[in-house]
């Protein structure tokens, strides 16, 4: 899975594509944890090219949110696919993240 990271003035955007499941969720987690280790806690996960997300992926994002919030930051989501968004809402996990329709809005929220 290719993971791209772009630094902005007040946040860092991380982008991945394809599917996130048990086989590659740890890789995503490692990339996000590295940003935390570098003192970055304002994060945007840009998701328009993510077409499938299993619960393994959600737990990675939850763990990162748990790390960001106590540091005064947060992880927000941008461009979440409709199917993913509906499954998130179904299990009530959408309340743990701010979700923006596009990257510009997400970056601008910081």
């Amino acid at each position: 899975m290719e993971i791209q990271s772009t630094e902005y003035k007040r946040c860092t955007v991380i982008k991945a594509s394809g599917r996130i499941d048990g086989s590659n969720a740890p890789e995503l987690g490692a990339a996000l944890k590295q940003l935390n280790a570098n003192g970055i806690f304002n994060l945007v996960f840009d998701m328009p090219e993510i077409k499938f997300m299993a619960s393994a992926g959600w737990w990675v994002l939850i763990d990162i949110q748990k790390a960001c919030k106590p540091k005064g930051g947060e992880l927000v989501l941008a461009g979440v696919d409709k199917g993913i968004r509906e499954s998130l809402k179904l299990v009530g996990m959408d309340t743990y993240f701010k979700i923006y329709d596009d990257l510009t809005s997400a970056v601008g929220s910081f």
Partner: protein, 138 residues
């Protein structure tokens, strides 16, 4: 339509599993949301087979059978690992403060939410058999 396929007991097979059930779901004329529900439920079930049923064992094959029923798509997963009953997994605590969220049980919870039927059986001879149905009207 009835199709079955065997997969290796490794997380690297998840993409192939998804492709297989997606193809079958579309052949049954499930809509986009229903296809996604099948993808998600089967992914969670497959991950459970690999991480629980086959945990501590040499990775083994498992089999997925997709069959079109009058009411929708039936997906049966069969593995020869140790008994793993999804009903034994407690429901996850949701709608709690962030720091109280724990990962256990979300995969099984998603399966139950996404599919209209989730039935499990185990025998020492046959292993685990998980039957799920996604109804077209559901």
């Amino acid at each position: 339509m009835k199709k079955n396929r065997k997969f290796p007991g490794s997380l690297e097979c998840l993409g192939d599993v998804c492709d297989f059930v997606t193809h079958c779901a579309k052949e049954c004329n499930l809509n986009e949301a229903q296809v996604y529900a099948v993808q998600l439920a089967v992914d969670e079930a497959t991950t459970n087979i690999i991480e629980h049923a086959y945990k501590g064992h040499l990775p083994n094959e498992f089999e997925i059978t997709c069959e079109e029923l009058p009411e929708g798509l039936q997906v049966v997963l069969h593995d020869t690992g140790k008994a793993f009953d999804p009903a034994s997994v407690p429901l996850p605590l949701l709608n709690v403060p962030l720091e109280e969220l724990r990962s256990r049980g979300l995969g099984v919870f998603l399966m139950r939410k996404m599919m209209d039927v989730v039935e499990y059986d185990f025998s020492p001879e046959d292993g685990n058999v998980l039957r799920m149905v996604k109804k077209k009207g559901g």
